[in-house]
Amino acid sequence: MSEHHHGHSHDDDDPRATDQAVRAEAIESVLIEAGILTDTEVDSFIETWHERIGPMQGAKVVARAWTDASFLDRLRVDANAAVPDVGVDPGRLEHLEVVVNEPGVHHVVCCTLCSCYPWTLLGLPPAWYKSPEYRSRIVREPRAVLAEMGCDVEPTTEINVWDSSSEVRYLVIPERPAGTDGLSEAELAALVTRDAMIGVARIEPVT
């Protein structure tokens, strides 16, 4: 039995959570020492992305787009200029582009090279969006991947994939579900899911 041969197996182990945590604390202290990071910034990162910024931002944009055709037009022309109308700060989004689902046309967003994502409108990306499974397959077999994810796209519907390889960020405007005629903008926003704004889900009709 050769130690040499199996020696590198051990190197392939991931650092366990405790090691990673210790390393991160060391990095944090070094960056605070260097004046790059403040000592409240990690906690405020968690608070920002767990409490303050999330899919509700994108949902407000979608609900308004469903109810106001002129807002949708402005979104299409210059989304960064339009989103403050619904109280959304485009913040770090350098250029927001909307892609609009309609009968026969489905849009889905990805980033094959890293995991670019519209954080400002949707919060932190879910783990699956960052997975090699999604990144590798969604550009090549989106219909199969979407079906596996529970989003069957009609065979006659064209699928448009948007691979975010620049600083442009994409937001899918899903189709407005049936049975929502009488709902207010806030009620509509509550129906809009994060997955639908990435393009991996539809919004179910309200019955």
Binding site: V22, L37, G150, V168
Partner: protein, 231 residues
Amino acid sequence: MDGIHDMGGTQGFGAVSFTPDEPGRVDDRWEAVAGAAVFALLRSGRTNLDAHRHRIERIDPRRYLPITYWGRWLAAVEAAIDEQEIAPPDAVANAVRQAGADPDRSAPPALGPVVALESRENGRTARREIDSPPRFAVGDLVRTSAHAPHAGHHRLPRYARGRQGTIARVYPAFVLPDATAHGRGEQPCHVYAVAFDGTELWGADAEPGLRCHLDVFEPYLSGADEVSEES
């Protein structure tokens, strides 16, 4: 670079592990350290997003997949501290030791060499105003470069090399990642969403009704009827 990060179209990965509307959260505090540290570094101007991405691309390919997203960010942060001389090379290891732990146990993955380091004074945004108008308009036929734009960081994935597509959207100008990741100025240029038919990318057995859009920086494109300089 043509690294393991360039995943579009790679086959062999299975089903996406998916639960509907799974919250986007950090699971552990160390992940938030990675996130906050990257944002702080970008704000400080000591690195830029393209150099950050290139550090991730340079992670030992044997480690890239197992350490997952936040682990890659954390490794890139530690490499930035070193490469941009934000702290002495042994600062992180010393801090681990001071916490009573063995720095070897948490050593980050090795990073491959870099052709050139980014500037030490980086802009915080990527969008720029430029005088030259976009070279292409919506509907124009274009062809992407058949080769990697250069050996370092760029944003032209392998699956879209030497492919013909149609300009679908014309975007404002942005700094060129190839330049900013390596301290070669900003070289701002227009960006386009280029639409490729599925069959152009994947051949005759592509899924029907598939159109893939990629954001392409103008230097990666030539008019579809131009003879490429390269061949």
